[in-house]
Protein backbone atom coordinates (compact mmCIF):
# COMPACT_ATOMS: atom_id res chain seq x y z
CA UNK A 1 0.00 0.00 0.00
CA UNK A 2 2.76 2.41 0.91
CA UNK A 3 4.48 1.67 -2.36
CA UNK A 4 1.25 2.20 -4.24
CA UNK A 5 0.71 5.59 -2.60
CA UNK A 6 4.29 6.51 -3.34
CA UNK A 7 3.80 5.68 -7.01
CA UNK A 8 0.58 7.69 -7.11
CA UNK A 9 2.38 10.72 -5.69
CA UNK A 10 5.20 10.41 -8.20
CA UNK A 11 2.66 9.90 -10.98
CA UNK A 12 0.71 13.01 -10.02
CA UNK A 13 3.86 15.07 -10.04
CA UNK A 14 5.03 13.99 -13.48
CA UNK A 15 1.44 14.00 -14.77
CA UNK A 16 1.02 17.63 -13.77
CA UNK A 17 4.02 18.61 -15.89
CA UNK A 18 2.67 16.55 -18.80
CA UNK A 19 -0.51 18.56 -18.31
CA UNK A 20 1.37 21.85 -18.74
CA UNK A 21 2.53 20.66 -22.15
CA UNK A 22 -0.70 18.95 -23.10
CA UNK A 23 -2.85 22.04 -22.54
CA UNK A 24 -0.51 23.91 -24.89
CA UNK A 25 -1.23 21.31 -27.55
CA UNK A 26 -4.92 21.36 -26.83
CA UNK A 27 -5.24 25.15 -26.84
CA UNK A 28 -3.66 25.42 -30.27
CA UNK A 29 -5.61 22.43 -31.53
CA UNK A 30 -8.90 23.89 -30.33
CA UNK A 31 -8.31 27.14 -32.21
CA UNK A 32 -6.49 25.98 -35.32
CA UNK A 33 -7.38 22.30 -35.62
CA UNK A 34 -3.88 21.00 -36.03
CA UNK A 35 -1.33 19.54 -33.66
CA UNK A 36 1.51 21.95 -33.15
CA UNK A 37 4.54 19.67 -33.35
CA UNK A 38 6.87 22.62 -32.82
CA UNK A 39 5.71 22.62 -29.19
CA UNK A 40 8.55 20.26 -28.22
CA UNK A 41 11.09 22.73 -29.56
CA UNK A 42 9.58 25.47 -27.43
CA UNK A 43 9.81 23.25 -24.34
CA UNK A 44 13.45 22.54 -25.14
CA UNK A 45 14.17 26.26 -25.44
CA UNK A 46 12.47 26.78 -22.08
CA UNK A 47 14.86 24.29 -20.52
CA UNK A 48 17.87 26.09 -22.06
CA UNK A 49 16.59 29.58 -21.21
CA UNK A 50 16.24 28.58 -17.56
CA UNK A 51 19.57 26.78 -17.54
CA UNK A 52 21.57 29.65 -19.00
CA UNK A 53 19.74 32.26 -16.94
CA UNK A 54 20.93 30.40 -13.84
CA UNK A 55 24.42 29.40 -14.92
CA UNK A 56 25.51 32.29 -17.15
CA UNK A 57 23.46 35.21 -15.86
CA UNK A 58 23.69 33.85 -12.30
CA UNK A 59 20.04 34.67 -11.73
CA UNK A 60 18.27 33.18 -8.72
CA UNK A 61 15.77 30.45 -9.54
CA UNK A 62 12.55 32.55 -9.56
CA UNK A 63 14.10 35.08 -11.95
CA UNK A 64 15.51 32.37 -14.20
CA UNK A 65 12.12 30.71 -14.19
CA UNK A 66 10.52 33.98 -15.33
CA UNK A 67 13.16 34.44 -18.05
CA UNK A 68 12.33 30.95 -19.31
CA UNK A 69 8.57 31.32 -19.55
CA UNK A 70 8.64 34.87 -20.91
CA UNK A 71 11.25 33.75 -23.45
CA UNK A 72 9.19 30.78 -24.61
CA UNK A 73 5.98 32.81 -24.79
CA UNK A 74 7.75 35.20 -27.16
CA UNK A 75 9.33 32.30 -29.06
CA UNK A 76 5.96 30.57 -29.56
CA UNK A 77 4.42 33.78 -30.89
CA UNK A 78 7.35 34.32 -33.26
CA UNK A 79 7.03 30.75 -34.56
CA UNK A 80 3.34 31.33 -35.17
CA UNK A 81 4.03 34.55 -37.08
CA UNK A 82 6.66 32.95 -39.28
CA UNK A 83 5.46 29.39 -39.73
CA UNK A 84 1.67 29.52 -39.47
CA UNK A 85 0.33 33.00 -40.05
CA UNK A 86 1.14 33.02 -43.78
CA UNK A 87 -0.72 29.71 -44.06
CA UNK A 88 -3.69 31.02 -42.10
CA UNK A 89 -3.94 33.99 -44.42
CA UNK A 90 -4.12 31.66 -47.41
CA UNK A 91 -6.64 29.34 -45.76
CA UNK A 92 -4.19 26.51 -46.31
CA UNK A 93 -5.23 22.90 -45.62
CA UNK A 94 -4.24 21.60 -42.21
CA UNK A 95 -1.61 19.26 -43.64
CA UNK A 96 0.47 22.32 -44.58
CA UNK A 97 0.36 23.46 -40.97
CA UNK A 98 1.68 20.11 -39.80
CA UNK A 99 4.50 20.16 -42.33
CA UNK A 100 5.37 23.70 -41.31
CA UNK A 101 5.28 22.68 -37.64
CA UNK A 102 7.66 19.80 -38.28
CA UNK A 103 9.97 22.14 -40.14
CA UNK A 104 9.95 24.55 -37.23
CA UNK A 105 10.61 21.69 -34.83
CA UNK A 106 13.62 20.44 -36.81
CA UNK A 107 14.91 23.98 -37.10
CA UNK A 108 14.69 24.64 -33.36
CA UNK A 109 16.48 21.41 -32.44
CA UNK A 110 19.27 21.92 -34.95
CA UNK A 111 19.87 25.56 -34.21
CA UNK A 112 20.69 24.48 -30.65
CA UNK A 113 22.94 21.63 -31.80
CA UNK A 114 24.74 23.94 -34.23
CA UNK A 115 25.27 26.80 -31.80
CA UNK A 116 25.69 25.43 -28.30
CA UNK A 117 26.24 21.78 -29.08
CA UNK A 118 24.55 18.46 -28.35
CA UNK A 119 25.96 17.94 -24.86
CA UNK A 120 23.83 17.08 -21.86
CA UNK A 121 23.80 19.76 -19.20
CA UNK A 122 22.73 19.49 -15.60
CA UNK A 123 20.81 22.20 -13.80
CA UNK A 124 22.35 23.52 -10.61
CA UNK A 125 20.75 21.90 -7.58
CA UNK A 126 18.24 24.40 -6.24
CA UNK A 127 15.88 22.48 -4.04
CA UNK A 128 18.22 19.90 -2.60
CA UNK A 129 17.90 16.15 -2.96
CA UNK A 130 16.26 15.45 0.37
CA UNK A 131 12.61 14.53 0.38
CA UNK A 132 9.72 15.40 2.60
CA UNK A 133 8.04 12.56 4.46
CA UNK A 134 4.30 12.39 4.79
CA UNK A 135 3.70 9.27 6.82
CA UNK A 136 5.00 6.41 4.73
CA UNK A 137 5.20 8.47 1.56
CA UNK A 138 8.25 10.50 0.64
CA UNK A 139 7.92 13.40 -1.77
CA UNK A 140 10.96 14.86 -3.45
CA UNK A 141 11.14 18.63 -3.01
CA UNK A 142 11.38 19.17 -6.76
CA UNK A 143 8.40 16.86 -7.33
CA UNK A 144 6.33 18.78 -4.82
CA UNK A 145 7.28 22.15 -6.30
CA UNK A 146 6.59 20.87 -9.81
CA UNK A 147 3.16 19.72 -8.76
CA UNK A 148 2.24 22.90 -6.91
CA UNK A 149 3.42 25.30 -9.60
CA UNK A 150 1.83 23.24 -12.37
CA UNK A 151 -1.48 23.06 -10.52
CA UNK A 152 -1.44 26.81 -9.89
CA UNK A 153 -0.67 27.52 -13.57
CA UNK A 154 -3.42 25.21 -14.78
CA UNK A 155 -5.94 26.72 -12.37
CA UNK A 156 -4.89 30.18 -13.53
CA UNK A 157 -5.36 29.16 -17.15
CA UNK A 158 -8.85 27.80 -16.48
CA UNK A 159 -9.82 31.00 -14.64
CA UNK A 160 -8.45 33.09 -17.49
CA UNK A 161 -10.40 31.12 -20.09
CA UNK A 162 -13.64 30.88 -18.13
CA UNK A 163 -13.80 34.27 -16.46
CA UNK A 164 -12.23 36.89 -18.68
CA UNK A 165 -13.57 38.52 -21.79
CA UNK A 166 -10.54 37.44 -23.81
CA UNK A 167 -11.00 33.93 -22.44
CA UNK A 168 -14.54 33.91 -23.73
CA UNK A 169 -13.28 35.17 -27.08
CA UNK A 170 -10.85 32.21 -27.12
CA UNK A 171 -13.71 29.79 -26.44
CA UNK A 172 -15.81 31.43 -29.13
CA UNK A 173 -12.94 31.30 -31.64
CA UNK A 174 -12.35 27.66 -30.74
CA UNK A 175 -15.90 26.92 -31.74
CA UNK A 176 -15.89 29.02 -34.89
CA UNK A 177 -13.32 31.61 -35.96
CA UNK A 178 -15.60 33.30 -38.44
CA UNK A 179 -18.45 33.72 -35.98
CA UNK A 180 -16.03 35.12 -33.41
CA UNK A 181 -14.76 37.65 -35.95
CA UNK A 182 -18.37 38.65 -36.62
CA UNK A 183 -18.65 39.62 -32.96
CA UNK A 184 -15.73 41.99 -33.38
CA UNK A 185 -13.06 39.64 -32.05
CA UNK A 186 -9.66 40.24 -33.58
CA UNK A 187 -9.01 36.56 -34.27
CA UNK A 188 -5.41 37.19 -35.22
CA UNK A 189 -4.84 38.49 -31.71
CA UNK A 190 -6.65 35.51 -30.21
CA UNK A 191 -4.26 33.21 -32.04
CA UNK A 192 -1.33 35.24 -30.72
CA UNK A 193 -2.61 35.04 -27.13
CA UNK A 194 -3.18 31.30 -27.43
CA UNK A 195 0.38 30.76 -28.63
CA UNK A 196 1.74 33.01 -25.90
CA UNK A 197 -0.16 31.05 -23.23
CA UNK A 198 0.88 27.70 -24.67
CA UNK A 199 4.47 28.91 -24.97
CA UNK A 200 4.52 30.13 -21.40
CA UNK A 201 3.35 26.79 -20.03
CA UNK A 202 5.81 25.01 -22.33
CA UNK A 203 8.65 27.09 -20.86
CA UNK A 204 7.64 26.15 -17.34
CA UNK A 205 7.46 22.48 -18.30
CA UNK A 206 10.86 22.78 -19.99
CA UNK A 207 12.53 24.12 -16.85
CA UNK A 208 10.99 21.33 -14.77
CA UNK A 209 12.09 18.61 -17.15
CA UNK A 210 15.54 20.14 -17.33
CA UNK A 211 15.75 20.07 -13.55
CA UNK A 212 14.30 16.60 -13.14
CA UNK A 213 16.39 15.02 -15.90
CA UNK A 214 19.00 16.96 -17.87
CA UNK A 215 19.01 19.56 -20.63
CA UNK A 216 19.76 18.37 -24.16
CA UNK A 217 18.58 19.27 -27.66
CA UNK A 218 16.16 16.35 -27.94
CA UNK A 219 14.45 16.98 -24.60
CA UNK A 220 11.49 18.28 -26.60
CA UNK A 221 10.76 14.71 -27.65
CA UNK A 222 9.11 14.33 -24.29
CA UNK A 223 6.16 16.16 -25.82
CA UNK A 224 5.16 12.95 -27.57
CA UNK A 225 4.01 11.96 -24.08
CA UNK A 226 1.94 15.08 -23.72
CA UNK A 227 0.58 14.58 -27.22
CA UNK A 228 -0.51 11.09 -26.17
CA UNK A 229 -2.00 12.60 -23.02
CA UNK A 230 -3.87 15.25 -25.02
CA UNK A 231 -5.30 12.62 -27.39
CA UNK A 232 -6.09 10.36 -24.42
CA UNK A 233 -8.04 13.14 -22.72
CA UNK A 234 -9.54 14.36 -25.98
CA UNK A 235 -7.74 16.82 -28.25
CA UNK A 236 -9.10 20.32 -28.02
CA UNK A 237 -10.47 19.89 -24.51
CA UNK A 238 -8.51 21.52 -21.71
CA UNK A 239 -10.00 19.48 -18.86
CA UNK A 240 -9.42 16.45 -21.06
CA UNK A 241 -5.76 17.36 -21.52
CA UNK A 242 -5.25 17.70 -17.78
CA UNK A 243 -7.11 14.49 -16.98
CA UNK A 244 -5.29 12.56 -19.72
CA UNK A 245 -1.93 13.84 -18.49
CA UNK A 246 -2.48 12.98 -14.87
CA UNK A 247 -3.78 9.53 -15.78
CA UNK A 248 -0.83 8.95 -18.09
CA UNK A 249 1.61 10.09 -15.42
CA UNK A 250 0.08 7.74 -12.86
CA UNK A 251 -0.16 4.79 -15.25
CA UNK A 252 3.45 5.27 -16.30
CA UNK A 253 4.80 5.37 -12.78
CA UNK A 254 2.71 2.37 -11.75
CA UNK A 255 4.00 0.42 -14.75
CA UNK A 256 7.57 1.47 -13.96
CA UNK A 257 7.11 0.59 -10.31
CA UNK A 258 5.36 -2.76 -10.61
CA UNK A 259 6.46 -4.10 -13.98
CA UNK A 260 9.62 -2.55 -15.31
CA UNK A 261 10.71 0.96 -16.17
CA UNK A 262 11.45 -0.33 -19.66
CA UNK A 263 7.73 -0.74 -20.21
CA UNK A 264 7.07 2.85 -19.19
CA UNK A 265 7.38 4.40 -22.62
CA UNK A 266 5.73 1.44 -24.26
CA UNK A 267 2.55 1.93 -22.28
CA UNK A 268 2.11 5.51 -23.54
CA UNK A 269 1.94 4.30 -27.11
CA UNK A 270 -0.25 1.35 -26.25
CA UNK A 271 -2.66 3.89 -24.79
CA UNK A 272 -2.38 6.09 -27.89
CA UNK A 273 -3.19 3.23 -30.25
CA UNK A 274 -5.93 1.92 -27.96
CA UNK A 275 -7.59 5.35 -27.77
CA UNK A 276 -7.37 5.93 -31.50
CA UNK A 277 -8.88 2.53 -32.24
CA UNK A 278 -11.56 2.31 -29.59
CA UNK A 279 -12.40 5.87 -28.60
CA UNK A 280 -10.96 8.39 -31.07
CA UNK A 281 -12.54 11.37 -29.30
CA UNK A 282 -10.56 10.54 -26.17
CA UNK A 283 -12.16 10.93 -22.77
CA UNK A 284 -13.67 14.37 -23.36
CA UNK A 285 -12.72 15.33 -26.92
CA UNK A 286 -14.70 17.37 -29.41
CA UNK A 287 -14.20 15.71 -32.78
CA UNK A 288 -12.86 12.62 -34.43
CA UNK A 289 -11.90 14.18 -37.74
CA UNK A 290 -8.44 15.15 -38.84
CA UNK A 291 -6.68 14.27 -35.64
CA UNK A 292 -3.14 14.47 -36.88
Amino acid sequence: MAQFLQQMVNGLSIGSVYALMAVGYSLVYSIMNFSNFAHGGVIMFGAYFGFFAMTQLKLPFPAAFAVAFVGTAVLAVVIERIAYKPLRERNAPFLYFIISAMGASIFLENIIIATIGPTFRTYPDVFGRTSISLGSVAIGRLDLIMFVISAVCLAGLVLFIEKTKIGRAIQASAYNMKAAALMGVNTDRVVMIVFALGGMLAGIAGVFFGMKYTVYPQIGNITTKSFVAAVFGGLGSLPGAVLGSVLLGIIETLVAGYLSSQFRDLIAFVILIGVLVFRPTGIMGKTTEDKA
Binding site: R168, Q171, K178, A179, A181, L182, M183, G184
Partner: protein, 239 residues
Protein backbone atom coordinates in the same frame (compact mmCIF):
# COMPACT_ATOMS: atom_id res chain seq x y z
CA UNK B 1 -25.24 54.25 -45.99
CA UNK B 2 -23.49 51.37 -47.74
CA UNK B 3 -22.07 51.83 -51.20
CA UNK B 4 -20.54 49.02 -53.21
CA UNK B 5 -18.99 49.97 -56.54
CA UNK B 6 -17.91 47.58 -59.26
CA UNK B 7 -16.94 44.81 -56.83
CA UNK B 8 -14.96 41.87 -58.18
CA UNK B 9 -14.22 38.88 -55.93
CA UNK B 10 -12.46 35.69 -56.92
CA UNK B 11 -11.53 32.70 -54.85
CA UNK B 12 -10.36 29.20 -55.61
CA UNK B 13 -9.97 30.18 -59.26
CA UNK B 14 -13.66 31.09 -59.55
CA UNK B 15 -14.72 34.64 -60.31
CA UNK B 16 -17.64 34.77 -57.94
CA UNK B 17 -18.52 38.44 -58.33
CA UNK B 18 -17.98 40.27 -61.61
CA UNK B 19 -18.54 43.96 -61.04
CA UNK B 20 -21.35 44.24 -58.52
CA UNK B 21 -22.60 47.71 -57.59
CA UNK B 22 -25.26 48.36 -55.03
CA UNK B 23 -26.26 50.83 -52.38
CA UNK B 24 -28.26 50.61 -49.18
CA UNK B 25 -29.77 53.80 -47.75
CA UNK B 26 -30.30 54.33 -44.05
CA UNK B 27 -33.57 52.84 -42.82
CA UNK B 28 -34.13 50.59 -45.82
CA UNK B 29 -34.64 46.89 -46.11
CA UNK B 30 -32.81 45.84 -49.25
CA UNK B 31 -32.86 42.29 -50.48
CA UNK B 32 -30.61 40.41 -52.84
CA UNK B 33 -32.26 37.45 -54.47
CA UNK B 34 -30.69 34.88 -56.73
CA UNK B 35 -30.20 31.19 -57.24
CA UNK B 36 -27.79 29.00 -55.33
CA UNK B 37 -24.23 29.90 -56.35
CA UNK B 38 -25.15 33.29 -57.77
CA UNK B 39 -22.68 34.94 -55.39
CA UNK B 40 -25.03 36.19 -52.68
CA UNK B 41 -23.07 34.89 -49.72
CA UNK B 42 -19.82 35.89 -51.39
CA UNK B 43 -21.10 39.44 -51.54
CA UNK B 44 -21.95 39.52 -47.83
CA UNK B 45 -18.63 37.89 -46.92
CA UNK B 46 -16.79 40.51 -48.95
CA UNK B 47 -18.68 43.33 -47.20
CA UNK B 48 -17.84 41.75 -43.82
CA UNK B 49 -14.15 41.57 -44.68
CA UNK B 50 -13.73 37.80 -44.98
CA UNK B 51 -12.94 37.92 -48.69
CA UNK B 52 -10.57 40.38 -50.26
CA UNK B 53 -11.98 42.07 -53.35
CA UNK B 54 -9.89 41.78 -56.52
CA UNK B 55 -11.24 45.15 -57.59
CA UNK B 56 -13.87 47.66 -56.64
CA UNK B 57 -14.60 49.94 -53.69
CA UNK B 58 -16.89 49.74 -50.70
CA UNK B 59 -17.82 52.54 -48.36
CA UNK B 60 -19.95 52.74 -45.26
CA UNK B 61 -21.35 56.02 -43.88
CA UNK B 62 -19.19 57.89 -46.35
CA UNK B 63 -15.92 56.29 -45.30
CA UNK B 64 -14.04 53.45 -47.00
CA UNK B 65 -14.88 50.12 -45.40
CA UNK B 66 -12.32 48.69 -42.93
CA UNK B 67 -10.08 45.84 -44.00
CA UNK B 68 -10.62 43.33 -41.20
CA UNK B 69 -13.87 41.73 -40.01
CA UNK B 70 -13.51 43.03 -36.45
CA UNK B 71 -12.93 46.60 -37.64
CA UNK B 72 -16.00 46.40 -39.86
CA UNK B 73 -18.06 45.27 -36.85
CA UNK B 74 -16.68 48.20 -34.88
CA UNK B 75 -17.75 50.54 -37.67
CA UNK B 76 -21.34 49.33 -37.29
CA UNK B 77 -22.02 46.47 -39.70
CA UNK B 78 -23.25 43.25 -38.15
CA UNK B 79 -23.74 40.00 -39.97
CA UNK B 80 -26.05 37.09 -39.23
CA UNK B 81 -24.16 34.36 -41.07
CA UNK B 82 -25.56 31.55 -43.15
CA UNK B 83 -25.93 28.46 -41.00
CA UNK B 84 -26.25 30.74 -37.93
CA UNK B 85 -22.88 29.70 -36.43
CA UNK B 86 -23.98 30.16 -32.84
CA UNK B 87 -21.33 29.23 -30.29
CA UNK B 88 -22.66 25.79 -29.38
CA UNK B 89 -20.08 25.47 -26.61
CA UNK B 90 -21.28 28.61 -24.83
CA UNK B 91 -24.55 29.33 -23.02
CA UNK B 92 -27.22 31.46 -24.69
CA UNK B 93 -26.32 34.24 -22.28
CA UNK B 94 -22.64 34.06 -23.18
CA UNK B 95 -23.45 34.00 -26.89
CA UNK B 96 -25.25 37.29 -26.42
CA UNK B 97 -22.37 38.59 -24.29
CA UNK B 98 -20.05 37.78 -27.21
CA UNK B 99 -22.22 40.02 -29.36
CA UNK B 100 -21.41 42.90 -27.01
CA UNK B 101 -17.69 42.03 -27.14
CA UNK B 102 -16.57 45.45 -28.37
CA UNK B 103 -18.90 47.49 -26.18
CA UNK B 104 -17.92 48.97 -22.85
CA UNK B 105 -21.05 50.89 -21.92
CA UNK B 106 -22.57 48.40 -19.46
CA UNK B 107 -25.89 50.27 -19.17
CA UNK B 108 -26.53 50.34 -22.90
CA UNK B 109 -25.52 46.68 -23.19
CA UNK B 110 -27.94 45.74 -20.40
CA UNK B 111 -30.71 47.71 -22.12
CA UNK B 112 -30.00 45.95 -25.42
CA UNK B 113 -30.00 42.57 -23.70
CA UNK B 114 -33.40 43.43 -22.27
CA UNK B 115 -34.58 44.34 -25.77
CA UNK B 116 -33.27 41.12 -27.29
CA UNK B 117 -34.96 39.07 -24.57
CA UNK B 118 -38.28 40.85 -25.12
CA UNK B 119 -37.95 40.30 -28.87
CA UNK B 120 -37.08 36.63 -28.32
CA UNK B 121 -38.71 35.43 -25.07
CA UNK B 122 -37.51 31.90 -25.86
CA UNK B 123 -33.92 33.03 -25.45
CA UNK B 124 -34.70 34.52 -22.04
CA UNK B 125 -36.19 31.20 -20.94
CA UNK B 126 -33.10 29.35 -22.08
CA UNK B 127 -30.42 31.87 -21.15
CA UNK B 128 -28.38 29.39 -19.09
CA UNK B 129 -28.70 26.56 -21.58
CA UNK B 130 -25.86 25.72 -23.94
CA UNK B 131 -26.59 27.08 -27.42
CA UNK B 132 -25.89 23.69 -28.96
CA UNK B 133 -29.05 22.32 -27.35
CA UNK B 134 -31.34 24.86 -29.06
CA UNK B 135 -33.57 23.98 -32.00
CA UNK B 136 -32.79 25.36 -35.47
CA UNK B 137 -35.36 28.13 -35.11
CA UNK B 138 -34.07 29.10 -31.68
CA UNK B 139 -30.51 29.14 -32.98
CA UNK B 140 -31.59 31.50 -35.76
CA UNK B 141 -33.12 33.77 -33.13
CA UNK B 142 -29.94 33.59 -31.10
CA UNK B 143 -27.84 34.45 -34.16
CA UNK B 144 -30.06 37.48 -34.78
CA UNK B 145 -30.07 38.48 -31.12
CA UNK B 146 -26.32 38.16 -30.99
CA UNK B 147 -25.95 40.41 -34.04
CA UNK B 148 -28.27 42.98 -32.43
CA UNK B 149 -26.02 42.97 -29.36
CA UNK B 150 -23.19 44.36 -31.47
CA UNK B 151 -25.35 47.47 -31.86
CA UNK B 152 -24.52 47.73 -35.54
CA UNK B 153 -26.62 50.08 -37.66
CA UNK B 154 -26.60 47.86 -40.73
CA UNK B 155 -27.59 44.22 -40.31
CA UNK B 156 -26.51 41.77 -43.01
CA UNK B 157 -28.63 38.62 -43.01
CA UNK B 158 -27.57 35.57 -44.94
CA UNK B 159 -30.42 33.11 -45.65
CA UNK B 160 -32.12 33.48 -42.28
CA UNK B 161 -34.99 31.16 -43.29
CA UNK B 162 -32.78 28.37 -44.63
CA UNK B 163 -33.67 24.95 -43.25
CA UNK B 164 -36.54 26.17 -41.08
CA UNK B 165 -40.08 24.78 -40.98
CA UNK B 166 -42.66 26.96 -42.83
CA UNK B 167 -44.20 28.25 -39.61
CA UNK B 168 -40.80 29.37 -38.37
CA UNK B 169 -40.03 30.98 -41.72
CA UNK B 170 -43.07 33.16 -41.11
CA UNK B 171 -41.77 34.03 -37.63
CA UNK B 172 -38.31 34.87 -38.94
CA UNK B 173 -39.72 37.33 -41.45
CA UNK B 174 -41.88 38.92 -38.76
CA UNK B 175 -38.75 39.32 -36.65
CA UNK B 176 -36.94 40.96 -39.55
CA UNK B 177 -39.78 43.50 -39.55
CA UNK B 178 -39.36 43.99 -35.80
CA UNK B 179 -35.62 44.51 -36.13
CA UNK B 180 -36.28 47.06 -38.83
CA UNK B 181 -38.64 48.89 -36.48
CA UNK B 182 -35.80 49.12 -33.95
CA UNK B 183 -34.17 51.47 -36.42
CA UNK B 184 -31.81 49.04 -38.12
CA UNK B 185 -31.03 49.08 -41.80
CA UNK B 186 -31.16 45.61 -43.29
CA UNK B 187 -29.45 43.93 -46.22
CA UNK B 188 -31.14 40.59 -46.66
CA UNK B 189 -29.90 37.73 -48.82
CA UNK B 190 -32.54 35.09 -49.44
CA UNK B 191 -33.42 32.18 -51.63
CA UNK B 192 -37.00 32.55 -50.46
CA UNK B 193 -37.52 35.38 -52.96
CA UNK B 194 -41.25 35.62 -52.42
CA UNK B 195 -40.94 36.37 -48.71
CA UNK B 196 -37.88 38.55 -49.13
CA UNK B 197 -39.55 40.74 -51.75
CA UNK B 198 -42.60 41.16 -49.57
CA UNK B 199 -40.65 42.67 -46.65
CA UNK B 200 -38.07 44.64 -48.65
CA UNK B 201 -38.16 48.22 -49.93
CA UNK B 202 -35.77 47.59 -52.80
CA UNK B 203 -34.32 44.52 -54.42
CA UNK B 204 -31.38 43.39 -56.53
CA UNK B 205 -31.34 40.23 -58.60
CA UNK B 206 -27.95 38.55 -58.71
CA UNK B 207 -27.17 36.05 -61.45
CA UNK B 208 -23.76 34.43 -61.91
CA UNK B 209 -21.93 37.20 -60.11
CA UNK B 210 -23.69 40.10 -61.82
CA UNK B 211 -26.62 42.30 -60.87
CA UNK B 212 -29.14 41.74 -63.63
CA UNK B 213 -32.05 43.70 -62.23
CA UNK B 214 -32.71 46.23 -59.52
CA UNK B 215 -35.58 48.37 -58.37
CA UNK B 216 -38.43 48.70 -55.91
CA UNK B 217 -39.20 45.34 -54.38
CA UNK B 218 -42.79 45.46 -55.61
CA UNK B 219 -41.63 46.19 -59.18
CA UNK B 220 -39.07 43.39 -59.10
CA UNK B 221 -41.74 41.03 -57.75
CA UNK B 222 -44.03 42.00 -60.62
CA UNK B 223 -41.34 41.45 -63.27
CA UNK B 224 -42.32 38.47 -65.46
CA UNK B 225 -38.75 37.17 -65.79
CA UNK B 226 -38.30 37.27 -62.00
CA UNK B 227 -41.65 35.59 -61.49
CA UNK B 228 -40.60 32.79 -63.82
CA UNK B 229 -37.15 32.21 -62.36
CA UNK B 230 -37.56 32.90 -58.66
CA UNK B 231 -41.21 33.05 -57.70
CA UNK B 232 -42.64 30.20 -59.78
CA UNK B 233 -41.39 27.43 -57.57
CA UNK B 234 -42.37 29.40 -54.52
CA UNK B 235 -46.01 29.85 -55.50
CA UNK B 236 -46.20 26.20 -56.53
CA UNK B 237 -44.86 25.23 -53.12
CA UNK B 238 -47.60 27.31 -51.60
CA UNK B 239 -45.37 30.14 -50.34
Amino acid sequence: MLNVENLHVAYGGIRALKGVSLRVEEGEIVTIIGANGAGKSTLLNAISGFLKPAAGTMSFKGKPLGRRPDIIVRDGICHVPEGRLVFANLSVENNLAMGAYLRNDKKAVAADLERVYSLFPRLAERSKQSAGTLSGGEQQMLAMGRALMTDGDLVLMDEPSLGLAPLLVQTVFEIIGEIHKLGKTILLVEQNAFRALSVADRAYVLEQGRIVKEGKASDVAADPAVRDSYLGAESKAGG
